[in-house]
């Protein structure tokens, strides 16, 4: 068999899928990855750039170079997908026929969806660190910031790495303390959620840390408009928060390509898939992985990694005409930097919220869950090497299974919720 597998997107999810499939099939499948450019950004590094803790040049590598020899890399813009005829149409006029299509098209930032956000003050006193250019511009702005109101605004979920805005607050607190000017800076975290985090146990832990560091939290604030000239964000229910420097996390949506291809996406352009098999509802030979999907868990590299195992097994099953396995459980694993060379680690899935315990080995660890530690910070730093050398090549992590493990977690009845379906 020479199955034609087309993967759209050469980011974290697309790259690890291509490499896993190639290791499985070798030359027995023709695997093509399509992307519009050859710049793969290590996105977890963007958080550190504004504080001078990461060199922006080191965060970018070639997409092509992350793919195993034998995988075809195609530079080009995808015009649209015709699931009825199993073809991807490129802007160049070429068409790529496929037996299996994988959508790894990620999430897009939509700053223009919020009135005024990219108007007066954009990239002068209004910034985002969710792009490489944005994080560099914010670094320069923080360098010349001489005090005042720093507002970090998470406009609405879903966003990539939902803990990153909190990490930004923690690192900003540390940054201004090191510079001896913390008493001249007010930090306010403004969120659409009713707490710092959606899951109760983790919310309590993070709220305590925010309070201890003197970071104010404004909840249930649905930003309707940004007034950069006046230095104010306004909510739909007519509340205001004033700022001197605004760090915004713009609304996210799926790729424009999904919106151009009828039947694939939900209302905001994420690919509608079965949350356990990752198969699209639009066609049985279409799958999605990573930030591109609408599955109800975090948009994070660890999720793409854990999904990879399910996806590759299901592509193999599909090509053999077998029933798919419903094995993806929503497993997510995130380090949360808290400054001062410390970090928290959380590990959860669709049903189990983040709780204290140890990871990855039950009763042994060595990493503590939901508690600040230096070891977790070292884990976060080590993750950069792991990302390029284990995660993107599509290797399993030693000792870490794709399905979340209950062993090693301090659980009670309230921390596991009934599945919603």
């Amino acid at each position: 068999m020479h199955a034609r597998i087309v993967i759209i997107g050469g980011g974290t999810a697309g790259t690890l899928t291509a490499n896993r499939l190639h290791r499985l099939y070798g030359d027995r499948a023709r695997i093509t990855v399509v992307d519009r450019d050859d710049r793969h950004v290590y996105q977890p590094g963007l958080l550190f750039v504004p504080f001078g803790l990461a060199d922006p040049k080191r965060l970018v590598r070639s997409r092509r170079a992350q793919l195993r020899p034998g995988i075809h890399f195609r530079l080009g813009e995808v015009a649209h997908i015709e699931t009825g005829e199993d073809r991807v149409h490129l802007d160049s006029g070429d068409a790529l026929p496929y037996d299996v299509l994988v959508l790894a098209t990620g999430a897009s930032l939509l700053p223009d969806e919020t009135e005024g956000l990219t108007g007066a003050g954009w990239e002068q006193r209004v910034f985002t660190f969710y792009t490489l250019d944005g994080s560099i511009a914010l670094r320069d702005a923080l360098d010349s910031f001489d005090g005042g109101r720093l507002v970090v605004n998470m406009i609405d979920l879903p966003v990539k790495c939902p803990v990153a805005p909190l990490e930004f607050c923690f690192l900003a607190d540390w940054h201004f303390r090191r510079r001896g000017m913390r008493d001249r800076v007010q930090i306010n975290y403004v969120t659409s959620l009713d707490g710092a985090f959606t899951k109760p146990t983790c919310n309590r832990e993070l709220s305590g840390l925010l309070a201890a560091k003197g970071i104010e939290v404004t909840t249930e604030f649905n930003t309707g408009q940004v007034d950069g000239a006046a230095g104010r964000i306004n909510s739909w229910d007519d509340r205001q928060v004033a700022f001197d420097l605004l760090v915004t996390i713009p609304l996210h949506g799926g790729s424009q390509l999904i919106a151009r291809s009828p039947g694939l996406g939900d209302e905001i352009g994420f690919v509608a898939v079965d949350r356990a098999t990752l198969q699209s509802g639009a066609a049985p030979n279409v799958f999605a992985i990573g930030d591109a999907t609408n599955v109800p868990t975090s948009k994070a590299g660890s999720v793409a990694h854990f999904e990879g195992e399910t996806l590759v097994a299901n592509i193999q099953r599909f090509l053999r005409g077998r029933e798919l396995e419903a094995s993806f459980d929503g497993h997510t694993n995130c380090f949360i930097e808290t400054g001062f060379h410390k970090a928290l680690l959380i590990d959860f899935n669709y049903e189990t919220e983040p709780v204290p315990g140890v990871f990855p080995e039950p009763h042994v660890g060595p990493l503590p869950l939901l508690r600040e530690s230096r070891l977790n910070h070292l884990g976060k730093l080590a993750f950069e090497w792991i990302y390029w050398h284990l995660l993107l090549p599509g290797h399993a992590m030693p000792g870490i299974s794709a399905q979340m493990q209950l062993a090693g977690k301090e659980l009670d009845a309230t921390t596991i919720t009934r599945s919603t379906r």
Binding site: L157, T198, G224, W236, D237, E267, I268, P296
Partner: protein
């Protein structure tokens, strides 16, 4: 906890959200709305309530305020007039579906 609504026992969480969407009736919606300070449910209210229930029953997830603004046919500004303070939560409560959970 089990509470009584219009002489019918229903399971609601401490904030008043239904635990089982199938226990809900349209008459209960009017009752919950008045508990929450909405004297009358207009056609525009019902448009949102129906969209909420349909989406929840089809996908297992309650729509966010942003999705409501895009897909329910009622713009966000008007949603805040119809369901003051927090339209996504209040409409979910009246529509008899569990409390919307942000996904992280």
């Amino acid at each position: 906890m089990t509470t009584t609504l219009l002489d019918t026992p229903v399971e609601r969480d401490p904030e008043g959200f239904f635990v089982h969407a199938e226990q809900w009736t349209e008459a209960m919606a009017r009752e919950i709305a008045s508990e929450c300070g909405i004297a009358e449910l207009t056609d525009r209210h019902w448009q949102v309530i129906t969209y909420m229930r349909t989406t929840y029953l089809e996908t297992g997830t309650a729509p966010s305020i942003r999705t409501l603004g895009k897909a329910s046919g009622v713009p966000i500004k008007e949603l805040y007039q119809l369901f003051p303070k927090g339209p996504a939560k209040l409409a979910a409560k009246i529509a008899g579906i569990p409390k919307p959970r942000g996904c992280i």
